[in-house]
């Protein structure tokens, strides 16, 4: 199977997963006992409001018509409107995306910056104190909730780095330094636990590569050890580590929700929590679908990149 057919097949699979998620959301909201219109409007809605929402949601139509309308709207990019502000769900989510993406991006960068040197040191000094130190720190990192790391960072920074803003968000359009000073702590908070996971992965991947024959050959050829390690070793070891970056972002997103609360940042996580509190269902539905789209396609891109980079993998092989 060629690359094109592989990409096509995986894209179709990805679309199918998103379609099932959308269907599941539809079924979930419709199967809640009671009137979805009341669910949408809350307990004290007036009858005429209920009727209006019922009409808008097409609740008087047969269920299959509602379902096809829902899917058709989604494919047109119409995710409905917020009950409270009337704003389109997609533009509401897009408006809250910048802080969240910024934290995620900084978090991933931090995770890689820590994990790759950490993993290399750990693997090359296996069984020595450096290895124990790196694996222990990685282990602790994985065992802490990121929002608590955020709280501790906030406490520490307010004492030792008082010029670092501890609250809110500044857009990247206000200048890179201002932006970075607002997202560095939240980025660390979500990045550190994932640095832990990545360090372990880099370590085991590196250990595997170090025992390969070609490493020995490279050493036997008399190449400088540094070259052997970085050029032959690291390049091959990093491939599987980079693959998890896609999955990593989805995991990060979960951590960011609580971290945004800690740092008072009005991002996607705060929007989601507020919408759940206010029972703004269209936004909750839209968020779940948007996230699943991001996640599924992120994985798709990583898979395709991975297969096209790695000559050992054939597209036909079922994963």
């Amino acid at each position: 199977m060629g690359l094109q057919r592989y990409v096509l097949k995986r894209t179709l699979q990805a679309v199918l997963v998103v379609y099932v998620v959308a269907t599941a959301v539809f079924v979930a909201v419709r199967s809640v006992p009671g009137d979805p219109a009341r669910l949408v409007l809350g307990g004290n809605a007036r009858p005429e409001e209920l009727a209006a929402v019922r009409d808008e949601l097409g609740l008087d139509e047969p269920i299959y018509v509602q379902y096809f309308d829902w899917i058709a709207d989604l494919t047109r990019g119409d995710f409905g409107q917020s009950i409270f502000t009337g704003e389109a769900v997609l533009s509401r989510i897009a408006g809250a995306a910048e802080p969240t993406l910024s934290i995620g991006l900084v978090g991933i960068c931090i995770a890689f910056l820590i994990a790759i040197p950490g993993g290399i040191v750990s693997a090359t000094r296996k069984g020595k104190w450096e290895d124990y130190a790196a694996t222990s720190v990685a282990f602790l990192g994985v065992s802490m909730p990121s929002f608590w790391i955020g709280i501790v960072l906030l406490l520490t920074a307010s004492t030792f780095v008082p010029f670092l803003p501890s609250y809110g968000y500044a857009s990247i359009s206000d200048g890179v330094v201002t932006w970075l000073s607002h997202v560095i702590l939240p980025g660390l908070a979500v990045g550190l636990p994932y640095a832990g996971i990545l360090t372990r992965m880099t370590r085991s991947s590196m250990l595997e590569v170090l025992s390969e024959d070609y490493m020995q050959t490279a050493r036997a050829k008399g190449l400088p050890p540094r070259n052997v390690l970085l050029k032959h070793g690291l390049q091959n070891a990093l491939l599987p580590v980079v693959t998890v970056a896609g999955i990593l972002f989805a995991l990060l997103l979960g951590g960011i929700v609580a971290v945004e609360v800690v740092f008072g940042i009005q991002g996607f996580g705060r929007l989601l929590i507020r919408s759940i509190e206010r029972q703004d269902f269209p936004i909750v539905q839209g968020s779940v679908i948007v996230i699943s789209i991001i996640f599924v396609f992120m994985n798709l891109i990583v898979d395709v990149l991975y297969t096209s980079i790695n000559p050992k993998i054939r597209y036909g092989s079922e994963a």
Binding site: S143, M144, P145, L272, S292
Partner: protein, 302 residues
């Protein structure tokens, strides 16, 4: 894949809960020789005991407010971990908070293990459309980050204050993990000679699954379950930090951190203790799980 695990069926070695007793002996060895597993076990037992006996052991009522020390929350011999801004004893609140974290974590994983094992057995043993349907479901659950999935489910169920619903939801999102694990084990065991022999000897499908497949697949479930309790505790902490499941004045570690967040610059201890408790508990369960893996994993006979 080794064939040595339970290759003689379930009758030869003495078993407890489907795990051969000699593995328990190895577990004992592991715990006494592996200091990390021993530490994990100690932590888990200590926290479980503190949680169970919190009403007896806690020095104060976790809800009782002492107005005199409300303004000066600090460490003292009367309040070794200090008091919060409502004048409540933090040690007592921590001990009562442990009840919620551990109960929800353990119950959620128990739900996930029971449902997941059932589904995984069905999918792995029968294959076909059951398998396809299950694996598609798993993919869908994996397409949404854990915490966001739980939040969305809580929103749909309109039960943000119900600890029971939180527990069930955290359980449900953990189901795929167990279903996949047991499915792969079953696929490995399904074609084994002794399973074939049992079928030939006239055992029913259910009998084969129960007597041969289940005992040979439970070890990894126990290991995974132990590690997953730690993860569940992290999720529950995040949820109660966000105000789901438990609310003031009921003590829980996550909710204590939420309260602490508002006053953290005045007092470090509020935010330090609950976080450390979460960290130590999660470390404890993970180390115990790793130790159990070493002891139970039949593929690595040491």
């Amino acid at each position: 894949m080794s064939t040595d695990y339970g290759g003689h069926g379930s009758d030869e070695a003495t078993r407890v809960f489907g795990i051969r007793v000699d593995r328990f002996e190895r577990l004992h060895e592991t715990v006494t020789s592996d200091y990390k597993a021993a530490f994990g076990l100690t932590v888990v037992v200590a926290f479980v005991l503190a949680a169970i006996f919190a009403p007896e052991l806690a020095p104060y009522d976790p809800m009782a407010q002492e107005y005199a020390i409300m303004q000066s929350p600090s460490l003292s011999s009367a309040h070794p971990l200090g008091t919060d801004s409502f004048g409540r004893d933090l040690l007592s609140r921590m001990m009562h908070g442990a009840r919620i974290s551990l109960a929800v974590g353990l119950a959620a994983v128990a739900i996930a293990a029971v449902v997941g094992v059932g589904l995984g057995l069905a999918a792995g043993y029968y294959g076909g459309w059951i398998d396809d349907a299950l694996m598609r479901g798993v993919e869908v659950l994996y397409a949404i980050p854990f915490l966001i999935l739980v939040l969305a489910l809580l929103a749909v169920l309109q039960a943000r204050d119900s600890l029971l619903v939180v527990t069930a939801t955290v359980g449900v999102v953990n189901v795929p993990e167990f279903a996949r694990l047991i499915r792969s084990r079953v696929l490995a065991v399904r074609e084994a000679t002794y399973v074939e022999a049992a079928r030939a000897a006239g055992r029913s499908h259910l009998g084969v699954v129960w007597h041969h497949v289940v005992p040979n697949s439970l070890g990894p479930v126990v290991v995974q379950g132990t590690v997953r309790v730690g993860t569940a505790i992290l999720v529950v902490a995040a949820l109660s930090f966000l105000g789901f499941g438990v609310s003031e004045p009921t003590p829980s570690w996550g909710a204590m951190l939420a309260t602490a967040r508002d006053v953290m610059l005045q007092n470090l201890w509020f935010s330090l203790w609950p976080g450390l408790a979460i960290l130590v508990t999660v470390v404890g369960f993970t180390l115990l799980g790793d130790g159990l893996r070493d002891a139970l994993d039949p593929r690595d006979p040491q």
